[in-house]
Symmetry: C2
Subunit: 789 residues, 2 copies
Amino acid sequence: MATAQTAHLSDDDLATLDRYWRAANYLAVGQIYLLANPLPAEPLSVEHIKPRLLGHWGTTPGLNLIYAHLNRVIRARDLDAIHVTGPGHGGPATLACCWLDGSYSDVYPDVSRDAEGMTRLFRQFSFPGGVPSHVAPETPGSIHEGGELGYALSHAYGAAFDNPGLVVAAIVGDGEAETGPLATGWHGNKFLDPVHDGAVLPILHLNGYKIANPAVLSRLPHEELDQLLRGYGHEPVFVEGDDPATVHHAMAAALDHCLDRIAGHQRAAREDGVSGRPRWPMIVLRTPKGWTGPATVDGKPVEGTWRAHQVPLSGLRESPGHLRQLEEWMRSYRPEELFDEQGRPLPEVLAQVPAGDRRLGSNPHTNGGRLLRSLPVPAIRDYAVKVPEPGATLHEPTRILGGLLRDLMRRTEKSRDFRLFGPDETASNRLQDVYDATGKGWQDEILSTDEHLARDGRVLEMLSEHNCQGWLEGYLLTGRHGLFSSYEAFIHIVTSMANQHAKWLKVSRELPWRMPLSSLNYLLTSHVWRQDHNGFSHQDPGFIDHMVNKDPQTIRVYLPPDANTLLAVAGKTLDSRDLINIVAAGKQPCFDWLSLDDAVNHVERGVSVWDWAGSDTGREPDVVLAAAGDVPTQEVMAAASLLRAHLPDLAVRVVNVVDLMRLLPHTEHPSGLNDHGFDAVFTADKPVIFAYHGYPWLIHRLTYRRNGHANIHVRGYKEQGTTTTPFDMVVLNDMDRYRLVMDVIDRVPGLALRAIGVRQLMKDKRNEHRSYIREHGQDMPEIREWTWA
Amino acid sequence: MATAQTAHLSDDDLATLDRYWRAANYLAVGQIYLLANPLPAEPLSVEHIKPRLLGHWGTTPGLNLIYAHLNRVIRARDLDAIHVTGPGHGGPATLACCWLDGSYSDVYPDVSRDAEGMTRLFRQFSFPGGVPSHVAPETPGSIHEGGELGYALSHAYGAAFDNPGLVVAAIVGDGEAETGPLATGWHGNKFLDPVHDGAVLPILHLNGYKIANPAVLSRLPHEELDQLLRGYGHEPVFVEGDDPATVHHAMAAALDHCLDRIAGHQRAAREDGVSGRPRWPMIVLRTPKGWTGPATVDGKPVEGTWRAHQVPLSGLRESPGHLRQLEEWMRSYRPEELFDEQGRPLPEVLAQVPAGDRRLGSNPHTNGGRLLRSLPVPAIRDYAVKVPEPGATLHEPTRILGGLLRDLMRRTEKSRDFRLFGPDETASNRLQDVYDATGKGWQDEILSTDEHLARDGRVLEMLSEHNCQGWLEGYLLTGRHGLFSSYEAFIHIVTSMANQHAKWLKVSRELPWRMPLSSLNYLLTSHVWRQDHNGFSHQDPGFIDHMVNKDPQTIRVYLPPDANTLLAVAGKTLDSRDLINIVAAGKQPCFDWLSLDDAVNHVERGVSVWDWAGSDTGREPDVVLAAAGDVPTQEVMAAASLLRAHLPDLAVRVVNVVDLMRLLPHTEHPSGLNDHGFDAVFTADKPVIFAYHGYPWLIHRLTYRRNGHANIHVRGYKEQGTTTTPFDMVVLNDMDRYRLVMDVIDRVPGLALRAIGVRQLMKDKRNEHRSYIREHGQDMPEIREWTWA
């Protein structure tokens, strides 16, 4: 379908749309420039102008146009629709529109829909103590910041999953369209079930330029762009022009066409049982950057060029000409036709604005906590492994968790508000029991050799961590629950997305009208210590380091040492609120250390002394052996048993850390131990040999304020690795049992001389290991067959 | 063009290709399974089998096929070609092929091209002390690890830029094709100049499955896939089948066709002056996953399914049937036709293998240090700003650097071995002087409103940090130089790519045959403190934290406090080798503190006492005020001047840190200070108030072993921010001058009571600031107009 050239709207509708659009544009300009005199009631003077001019005009008129037209179809069709605005730096547009529809004043009553409120709206924008220049958590109707760019489509698909009545208009800027995450975000349509999911309507808004360059997609020959979008599985409708009336007709026709097609596809799938992926419609809206703004400034073209990106007219204090040009620009929208003398939008401006929760600024899906139901997590007891004695049996922790997730999938079969996301590793990460309850969502052809694919599957696997993360974020932000399981190393691919989500949660928590969301849960498995197949490129435990830089109110890190503890962590985190829970747990057979009751207590305490494993009962310890993580726990336990055998008099305390944030002072983190609690476990003056899952210096960064910090000696991953045996990995990084025993001997005062033979024995063992693996290609029998019990 | 059905090859050529392919497949299987008996000379028994079976078979036969066919065309056309193998987990393929062409034995003579070497080749694969299972730095002929997936195309384009005679075959796996970076990697063709750059030949290798799922692109209807690839700007040639002879003919025809097209496009651009972007050819190779491997195992289909992904036959010790099946599989390649009795490949296997540096395993572009020329960095003195007295003048540091980069662009105009990469921010980051020397590379239409676009421009701007990073990596790995300038917050988008490059450099350094490369240089600007326009989403200084987890031999971090120091850092880093240099520097006007000589000395020392700024001359300091970063330096200097005014008796030492790694002990980092040097600057016992550019706890993580660590009090960014004034940002994060003075008063013993009035004054100033900005929207005049001098 080409650009509609014919009249699609009645004259009245056209006039209303255009009035609304002019009003929104006017309000956007006002936000960028004005401190006072909003209507403007008197001629603009420098006193009315903000001292610092900040904001992005270029994308704003296009966003306002889309908002206006979405209003029309929502009202005409009683549509349940939200918008995800990729060019979120166009904050003035979204703020203008939700002020116009009254959503803004609903949550910020002092910014009322009149001249006083308009003054506040203008002044607060990008102003100290005011609101950010981008669409942000502070913006009603938004689930998407848009500052970083790249995630509009994945957020939109996440919002649409399991919301069969919802239409998500996903506005993609042509700058954003160049990013990798957005480029693969298009493929979300291969995972969208027309029966159980809602619809995503992508609106690619081409205005030709990024900050200073043409955008790639905007300069493609028309045929190539058309092929690209068809190749992405869409049926594109092109709306192009710079004459407002023409564009209004074309945009209205395009929206009606697309919504009819969407309804048709949904009807075919839901009522006629048509299977397979439809070619969903989409819109390409090509309008000038900074449309309706100054055509030229100081003789240089602005409208339609990259110069319109931010503030088209500046230096207003120095240049009376610019000030006059601003006034002409604002008056070109004919504010007197849009607002009454009290600054209230006239009824004819608002005639096509929807009411109540149908307003884009008020749709409850965009404040997901309003819709969130408690997650029916099954009793973890039903999945617990029996632990007759510690360290005698082995289980794959993630496989045990898989049983719980299977039943959670069953319990949410009707509510469809829980999903599992991952880049093709759910089974490889041993969670495959979930496939007894649901399939992997897939809309293309299904072959007889495929397993577990299903149109309505609630496991989503795509080899794009960006999509997995973005889908889950969109799903959570619209009031549902989920879990992302990933190879530990490759979760770094979404480091920056996790940043942005943490920032969103931090700001949202401070807004009384934003309701709490379900937490973002990461299961990091196939972790650094067990990359037997893959080696060095797959070894990176640094995501934890990265995330603990974020707001402490938001971040939790768990390192369960065994299967039952992983269950207990799942019980604590799956239905939590407003957090980012990072759980690192192995998929390989791992010793069971704790009964379920002990595991639950361990998780509640976060840090526990394992009396049964130590030799310090009833006495001061000579040394503390601490572990955080499953592999470190195993090495610490093996070290403890070596010490018991070789140095039976030594009082060894064994400590296990499952909640890493406990190590921080309580003044720094809500989970932090106070000094008294910390010293009670780690002592204030004894050597602590700490085996940690990740980079060792993180433990120092968390504990540097502790009394006994100078005595803490940490072993962990120090960027040494390759394709080798599991035990060789710990040896390469000096975290093996023998090395830990040597550390104890080196650090306990007075022990060095007494234990000189034991130390030499440990050294010999390490050498023996090295020759053994080079000869046999696997670990020595005494390592492979070691048990604690 | 559809699949070629007709004979393209002579019978001899077909036979040679097929023999080579069988040999490579045989050698790949041998690597996965065998410890001994490589030919096999005797029937396979469990003693010949590795104890741990590791490796990825699924993609291997396809990679071998491509390698075989590339050999043919390289030889036939005397082509200068390299391969970038996205499915780098198919290590057995690449290792087999470079063993066959002799490149492997050239660099690893003990792995000779005979039975003894073949045994070593097999045994070492994924074996302790051996080689990784993936294509890795250890693999001759590779510039691409392929473990993380996503970067094959961007690396390929990076290699092709400014290498007009080179063809880069970029093999994209269908799993990888789902990633975001790869999805936008296709658009590299919009930036490839047919005149000055070489060619990239993408080969999309569809084998249907990822680990456990069908791949998105492989299941697209043919028409949709064709549209997608055309939309990406390519002319796809489809090679599909499972009959080897048919596929050989079709693949040979496709390669000849594509290379003819490439040569034609290059001729048109270079000789006929045809401008504009050609539609470059590409190949879609669709063959079964695990092709020629076991069709079924235990009654389940394997060949052609996801079950062929890793090791198709396992449990060989327990299952004699599997062992027999393995032997049948290996013998199906008829090794007796491929190797002589000494295990040497027969001449008829190697008849189409190129010689010398034309071999894919030996092409010097893949060991870029062999081609690297020294970078003619201009004398930095010529760009230095005059500093009559410290803190009296202002310059934008990145603008000053821009002058140097301009002339560096000029000096490399002929050699074309330096480029600047960035996501549309070169001018916004004030480096625009480079446009006097070169343009921004752009191959699509150029309009009259565009600025600085040029077909042969050596600045590459695309709003994809992934492409910028991947291009630069590919450019460096093939022996050239470059700089990536980015918004500080959004460099996190490529955190995981930087990880992988750091790992590549670490391993390469340990390989004597890999020659040193030019360093990867990051200029992080538009940094955390100056997001006046953009606010919280644009504030994240954590990339530094992330990178200092990597190998210390590789990582350097510089925080120049002013323009001359940025020049000095540029002088030190731009032509350095095998490092990742992270330079964080502002683009906003910044006080000049140091003359060029002082700046050079400062960078050499890394940490300096600024005597002229302190009040401790000739006496023990009461307190040390330290800064790292431009904004922290300004606040520390302002605090020092407040202290001088209000507490003139106090002996204040002012310290500036430009080389952050100096803070680490010399035992931990090659740049680290020893304790004596550290104490000489920071003292071992005086309070240190440290204002740091990023997250404050990083300073603790770096200094926790220092004698005076308990006295170090750090201020920095603690995740507080929004769209606000520059000074408000430092107040929000407690790093402002007033707060620093209060910190001094609180920490210098005995000062609290004496300075109670000064402390109250500082507190009042902070309050005054808060009300002022809320009223006026900008910082107080005393902040805006402050100068040191």
